[in-house]
């Protein structure tokens, strides 16, 4: 079972993303900030991170730059409330494994996570 770390500062969004992925068969842990998420990486060793972009403290885009994520080539799927082409281009240029724009359906989130995991397994 793949482990997914979900990071979002909005509790309801965080819990719903976690529930959608749990129902889809993933093991999920959540964090309310990117900083807390980085602490969980060593403890729990997830296979993939799903993170909001706009958060107090470290943003989702800044999270992509974290040395710990870079070293392990951990895929990060970003979620955003402002799905403009500029955000998409910036996220992909910085190495995001996927981007889903809110409000997304269960299927869209599941597909983004599955695709990112497939690609990371393929390149491993």
């Amino acid at each position: 079972v793949s482990r997914v770390l979900v990071i979002d500062d909005e509790a309801i969004v965080r819990h719903l993303i976690a529930e959608i992925l749990e129902v889809a068969g993933y093991a999920v842990r959540t964090a309310e900030s990117a900083e807390r998420g980085l602490e969980l990486l060593d403890d729990w060793q997830p296979n993939i991170v799903v993170s909001d972009i706009v958060m107090p403290g470290l943003s989702g885009l800044e999270l992509l730059e974290a040395p710990r994520l870079r070293r392990d080539g951990l895929p990060v799927v970003l979620v955003t409330g402002a799905g403009t082409s500029g955000v998409l281009a910036e996220a992909l240029a910085q190495g995001a494994a996927g981007l889903v724009t809110k409000p997304f359906s269960h299927a869209q989130l599941e597909a983004a996570v599955a695709d990112a995991l497939d690609r990371s397994h393929g390149s491993a």
Binding site: I12, V13, L16, G81, A82, S85, T101, K102, P103
Partner: protein, 241 residues
């Protein structure tokens, strides 16, 4: 005396540009606000839609509860489209541009509208001069056409008609949409492109024409309300080298 007259002439000549600058400034400010609001709405909207989806998986199809949750989902999806409109408004250049056949884009958009207004008994007459190519984002041009056609449809009474014509004029491609409604009242002609200005209370945010004009201007073109027409005629003008 002569100086004063010259100054007066200069002032008159600059007035339209000044108006445009003020208008553009307003558009940018409201665009930023709209993008911010859209962003804030998307989190709770995601919660509503994601929870509806869970409930629809758990409930028995055909029951009253299922239908009610379906209605929540449908309404949520309508809000999603409104928010998308706000985000489009906040966008500057937007989508990728390429050389597109404008006449084809118009045909596709009219076909789409025809499918949605059949019940109202409005006929749409199309006039094309021939293939006409422009450098544009087809998605954004479709959005403009849908806005203009939507307005025309609202203005046109049952049994009326809308005439869509596509033609070239020197270095411009022109798409005119003429409705057979009551026309635009003289008192509001200057205000119809202002953001949040609407003559149809409760039927929209009043952003359609402002968004459309913003898109046209981002393409180096404009939208004009033609003077002295029966009904209202809006023309989208795009550069066509």
């Amino acid at each position: 005396m002569r100086r004063r007259r010259q100054f007066g002439e200069m002032e008159n000549a600059l007035a339209p540009y000044e108006r445009q600058l003020v208008e553009n400034g307003k558009l940018v400010a409201i665009g930023e606000l709209a993008a911010g609001v859209a962003h804030e709405i998307n989190n709770p909207l995601f919660a509503i839609l994601a929870l509806s989806e869970f409930l629809l998986k758990e409930l028995e199809p055909g029951t009253r509860s299922y239908e009610r949750v379906e209605l929540i989902q449908t309404t949520g999806l309508e809000i999603k489209e409104i928010v998308r409109g706000l985000l489009d408004f906040g966008r500057e250049g937007g989508e990728e541009r390429s050389t597109i056949a404008l006449d084809q884009v118009v045909r596709q958009t009219v076909a789409l509208v025809r499918r949605t207004n059949a019940q109202k008994g409005i006929s749409i007459v199309e006039r094309y001069e021939g293939p006409l190519f422009v450098d544009a984002s087809s998605g954004q041009v479709k959005q403009v056409l849908l806005n203009l056609l939507g307005n025309a449809r609202h203005a046109t009474p049952d049994g009326g008609r809308i005439v869509v014509s596509v033609r070239r004029s020197d270095t411009e491609a022109l798409v005119s949409i003429a409705d057979s409604g009551p026309g635009v009242d003289e008192s509001v002609r200057d205000r119809i492109f202002e953001p949040f200005f609407t003559t149809r209370r409760g039927a929209g945010a009043g952003l359609g024409l402002a968004v459309s004009l913003g898109i046209a201007q981002a393409h180096g073109g404009t939208i004009v309300l033609e003077p002295d027409t029966r009904g209202a005629t809006f023309t989208l003008r795009l550069p066509a080298p």
